[in-house]
Point group: C2
Chain length 340, copies 2
Amino acid sequence: MAVPRLAGIMSEALRRRGVSPDHAGYVVDGLLLASLRGIDTHGVRLFPTYLAELDGGRSVARPRLRWRGRKSASRVLDAGRALGLVAGRVAVDEAVRLARDHGVGVVAVANSNHFGAASCYTLEMARRNMVGLAFSNSDALVAPHHGRRPFFGTNPLSVAVRGKGDELFCADLATSQVSYSRVKHRLRQSLPLEPGWAVAPAGEDAAELPAGAPIAALKPLGGHKGQCLGMAVEILCSLLTGMPLDHELAHLFSPPFDEPRRVSHLFIALEIAAFTGPAAFRSRLSQWLGAVRRQQALGAERVLVPGDLEAASARRRARSIPLADDDWLALTAIERRLGR
Amino acid sequence: MAVPRLAGIMSEALRRRGVSPDHAGYVVDGLLLASLRGIDTHGVRLFPTYLAELDGGRSVARPRLRWRGRKSASRVLDAGRALGLVAGRVAVDEAVRLARDHGVGVVAVANSNHFGAASCYTLEMARRNMVGLAFSNSDALVAPHHGRRPFFGTNPLSVAVRGKGDELFCADLATSQVSYSRVKHRLRQSLPLEPGWAVAPAGEDAAELPAGAPIAALKPLGGHKGQCLGMAVEILCSLLTGMPLDHELAHLFSPPFDEPRRVSHLFIALEIAAFTGPAAFRSRLSQWLGAVRRQQALGAERVLVPGDLEAASARRRARSIPLADDDWLALTAIERRLGR
């Protein structure tokens, strides 16, 4: 679907629900950015769910945003059930402001919702000459290492920074080995899973199941270390804000849509100029990324820099975003209800 | 070897070389802590190498420590070739001081050396009521995902925080799938490697090689995502301080011992009290860690909390640390040269 049409549908649907133009811009920009970058699971596909959250009351169109904390370089934003993309962007603006004053700025966010792709926030910080770090907790889908049931979220983390020109390093990863979407896609197509991806209901690796058989949980990235990372994200988000733990969170796509989910995030902005010369930093970063890309790979494979595939997708998709049938139907249904 | 004897050997050897009592204490405490916690690769085994660095001039006994940066919550420590455990502990003290004033404190360290186990620093921050984060770059041992040659260090990261009483969550992980020590141990014993651990010289997974055959490089944790994490650590350390990149660093155990290695680190302290009530935080953290330990595991396995095995080792080893034959010989040789 053409990008302006998508933007129009989303903006108007949010406006009709009383979302301010600034806040609607954050949501539309964030979802479009993810879709443009090819992260379809975190792109415009989420918009119907976000509307259901607004309509049900899980999120509110005109949130009361409250700041806590008396220390100079760190703040807590009580987002008052804001849409996650609103809460996150407001938090990032403040983290960057704090970092300009103090060299580092940290904003923890309480009472939020699903915040989309973590890279939305780190890219914004990177564009403002920061090293940006973002973390979010999420509902339980991942078993502990050796575990049998979901207890941790896929708890994403992202780190981004800008090189020369508009070159960007952008790592954005769930702390599970693979995403639930990727597993679901394989199951739907009755394709086998790879070892280390998921746990079967009886506890063994789901790669041993017949293709298409249901799984019990995702596995953490690389085993024990992924569990360490997922738990660290939960500490930085749920624990540091006093919000629900991963296993206490309602699932994003499931009812009740009329109760707050109370998702939590953490953003850290490090001002490059507080540590080293920004021009030399950016030039050296780009040289290094070039050297990474030139590393010899096995066979037909290529060595990639985190964010390169996404940047290529954004160039390819600049005008139009391909939608899956379901998503096309859901978004055009919203469009029809707007009477457009 | 009895802990007091080990401490005596190391303290005296450092004193004879002109290291101040405070600085010697950092080195001795750091190496003993790692050995007590069972992280033998980062414990007293490293002491002979650290002495070789001092004797050669790679590190200096009386470093000139210089502070840079004019922003209030972030600083750069030019460690002037200090031993890494000295540079790291001085940096941590400052990060904690900054965090008490500003809610967060960040210290980047330039011109340092191998800093031992990353958990030395995060545990110190945790004991002072911070969430502690530590990162270090290191010499190249890890291939990019799909790559064939080492280009990234094992670039460790650690996150620690204290629960009720003296309970500690402590994640400390290299961003490779496994450590080089673990691979070397398997190779020496002619045991096979597991898929995902290492790259063979021709580029295929080293698990396909005959047992004991030499490898070309370690693989990143879980594939692409581990490369993302390793690169993020390199950005936070080498790039943010203007220090050499991983592949530009001399190897820890190899000559020249008379040239500076210029290792770099980053420490972040987040003051819990700046975000939420510390008592409730600690109590809730401990409840959650208990719930993690009670998660059902497959067969005879157990679900572990990061740091539990290490804490159990520290209780077991409180009086005496078992040493491998080589390490016993090296440490008693140092003892003899001291005329003790």
